[in-house]
């Protein structure tokens, strides 16, 4: 981890997944909605915070659902001017309206040398971005359904933390957190994917509508981290055999409807299911584990993504060198301690109103 070297233009990226937060769990549970209007507002809050922390340029992908359009429209408004928004550039890329758009945008941002990628989405979106950006840190904002990887956080404060890091005013060893990940391999089909929270093995044959909402549809959980307060499949490990984000190991759980003991866990917002627990244990890094089920589906970070047959022999391995992310609390605690957001004079309410935004260093 190193503090980004000063560069001509402070450039960060924003990826807002237009598809997150509107899956089947609005029907099968009490999940809420994150509309594109909400997401555009979150992007605008980030831009305000990036403007206040001296970011020069923000790159973001276009989309088919009006997020980029709403941001572009707002960028010509009074609020954008008064908040000294960074210069905005929309990536020139084709849209397929699938996760490929997120992956391509992440690759393009990495090529353009951004020092940070703010991600608006759920666990799945973060996973897709993390797979493409290497060591570029993520600023994680939850706009999904069952989110364990991105914490629920207001975008303005998160944006300040990200902006202060990207502008070199918070050291990396304070601002950044190294995350774990799970690597999923099916050599027979050339599949090599990652998950950031958990991989669930389901007896369901098809990926279907992706979400898993019933206890009988889960056979095993392999979690990189599992917090007791989590929502979603990792809550099973979190409430039975928890493991923190920083621990050098993970947690696994085997389930069966015929087990002698069961655990009540929130599989989705408002959806508590009693899940029979057969066995649990610790996931050691670098040791591949094979599902006991010969065939079924693998749910990566809560969504069924991979259908496997008896001949596929999937493996799941915990890795400790996952993506970097901004530790918003730690970063802002440092900012407070160093008075990084202090501005000169009483009449100035925005650093952009001073001659040089970096003069406050």
């Amino acid at each position: 981890m190193s503090t980004p070297a000063p560069q001509a233009a402070l450039r960060v990226g924003i990826i807002a997944n237009p598809a997150s937060g509107r899956d089947l769990r609005r029907l099968t549970a009490n999940a809420g909605l994150h509309s594109s209007t909400d997401k555009a507002a979150v992007v605008q809050r980030l831009l305000g915070a990036f403007g206040a922390t001296g970011i020069d340029e923000v790159l973001m992908p276009p989309d088919m659902t009006g997020i980029a359009a709403a941001v572009l429209k707002a960028s010509a408004g009074r609020h954008a001017r008064d908040s000294h928004w960074p210069r905005l550039e929309f990536l020139d890329m084709p849209l397929r309206q699938s996760v490929e758009d997120t992956r391509l945008a992440a690759r393009l941002l990495a090529q353009r040398g951004v020092s940070l990628v703010a991600v608006l989405g759920g666990d799945g979106t973060h996973k897709a971005v993390a797979a493409e950006v290497g060591e570029i840190p993520l600023l994680c904002l939850s706009t999904g359904t069952n989110n364990a990887f991105p914490e629920l956080r207001e975008a303005t404060g998160a944006g300040l933390a990200g902006g202060l890091y990207a502008s070199g005013r918070i050291p990396a060893d304070i601002a950044l957190r190294r995350n774990k990940r799970l690597r999923v391999r099916l050599p027979s089909r050339g599949i090599d994917e990652i998950a950031l929270v958990e991989v669930a093995v389901s007896p369901l044959t098809f990926t279907g509508a992706r979400a898993i909402s019933r206890a009988e549809d889960i056979a095993e959980i392999h979690a990189a981290f599992a917090e007791p307060h989590a929502i979603g499949l990792s809550s099973l490990c979190g409430l039975w055999n928890p493991v923190s984000r920083r621990s050098p190991r993970g947690s696994w759980l085997r389930l069966s409807v015929e087990a002698d003991q069961a655990l009540l866990a929130p599989l989705a917002p408002g959806l508590l299911q009693a899940c029979g627990i057969v066995a649990c244990g610790s996931l050691e890094p670098g040791v591949p584990r094979r599902p006991l089920l010969a065939a079924g589906t693998l749910a990566l970070d809560g969504e069924r993504e991979i259908e496997f047959a008896a001949s596929d022999h999937p493996s799941i391995t915990l890795e400790l060198d996952g993506p970097l992310s901004i530790d918003v609390e730690a970063a802002l605690a440092w900012a407070a301690h160093q008075r990084l957001l202090a501005v000169a004079g009483t009449t100035v309410n925005h650093p952009g109103e001073q001659e040089d935004v970096h003069a406050i260093d």
Binding site: L24, L27, S36, G66, Q97, G208, A209, A295, G296
Partner: protein, 324 residues
């Protein structure tokens, strides 16, 4: 473990194959000039009709759109009767006086294709009200597109369905274009599913190239409606393989767009590959269905072409309901 029996999987394949073969044949036949009126082909969208209709029986009603052939076939309307109707022949399901955009078969709960964009939604809401008043478990499904999602009639239907807690499912088949206008140019509130919140009902988005995704979402929505929990909205994202109507030059979209979806996400290709890989179906049984479907379509076209047109005397029949 699949929630679908082999029989139901084979039925889904037969439905989707029939729709594809029906539409591809019409694509060829329409070019000969022999078919009166317009046809709007459903090819590419098969998983939506098959996935939703897998949960319905004849008691359940659907209201369709101008792109209605797929809905009719999936709801069980006779393929020969449809073909004859499209050819304007007396043997058609509406005696040849409706054509492609007015195919209806009340015995199958098919309230009709519809030439007016968004006009099916109030019909479905009415059928749902009837089901509720009768106290049976029937539901109604309104199909409309991204263009239809902007129509006031759809909003009014969604509002009343929610106010009266009707067993009505609104299925927005978002193929990206209202005729030649891209949805992202014309649908304000981005995702059509998000509009459900404005009417106090759940809204979800599903992958319309994936039969199993549509099937699962439709199961949840229909089960909810049958349990008396009210309406919901499903936005099915898909693409149409042909133009808005036959003859549409499609200058509004990149030629590569359809090619990409056909090659990477086609619903039939996916269904076949996944069910065979999972060992649930055999390639040979799917091939056998394909051959039967081809023969059925061939027979329907041959007979429809040879059938008589309605006579002048038929002009005033079925115009008014005869009251006793």
């Amino acid at each position: 473990m699949s929630t679908l029996s082999t029989e139901r999987l084979l039925h889904a394949w037969r439905v989707m194959r029939t729709i594809r073969a029906f539409e591809e044949r019409l694509h060829v036949e329409f070019a000969t000039g022999e078919i009166p009126g317009f046809v709007h082909l459903y090819a590419g969208e098969e998983a939506s009709a098959a996935g939703v209709m897998a949960h319905l029986d004849d008691e359940d009603c659907i209201a369709s759109t101008h792109r209605g052939h797929g809905h009719c076939i999936a709801k069980g309307v006779d393929v020969y009767g449809m073909m004859a109707e499209i050819y304007g022949k007396k043997t058609g399901v509406c005696q040849g006086k409706g054509g492609s955009m007015h195919i209806a078969d009340l015995s199958k709960g098919m309230l009709g294709a519809n030439g007016i964009v968004g006009a099916g939604a109030p019909l479905a809401a009415g059928a749902a009200l009837a089901a509720r008043l009768k106290g049976n478990r029937a539901v109604a499904v309104a199909f409309f597109g991204d263009g239809g999602s902007n129509e006031g009639a759809v909003f009014e239907a969604m509002n009343l369905a929610s106010v009266w807690n009707l067993p009505c499912i609104f299925v927005a088949e978002n193929n990206g274009y209202a005729e030649a206008t891209a949805a992202n140019w014309s649908v304000a509130c981005d995702h059509i599913a998000d509009r459900a919140a404005g009417f106090g009902m759940p809204g979800v988005t599903v992958d319309g190239f994936d039969f199993f995704a549509v099937h699962e979402a439709a199961a949840a929505a229909i089960e909810r409606a049958r349990a008396g929990e009210g309406p919901s909205l499903i936005e099915v994202k898909l693409t149409r393989y042909y133009g808005h109507f036959e003859g549409d030059a499609q200058t509004y979209r990149h030629p590569d767009e359809v090619k990409h979806y056909r090659e990477t996400r086609d619903c039939l290709m996916q269904f076949r590959e996944r069910t065979v890989r999972a060992g649930l179906l055999q390639a040979a049984e799917l091939d056998a269905i394909d051959a039967e479907v081809e023969a059925t379509i061939e027979d329907a076209v041959r007979r429809a072409k040879a059938d008589p047109k309605p006579s002048p005397a038929d002009l005033l029949s079925d115009v008014y309901v005869a009251y006793p």
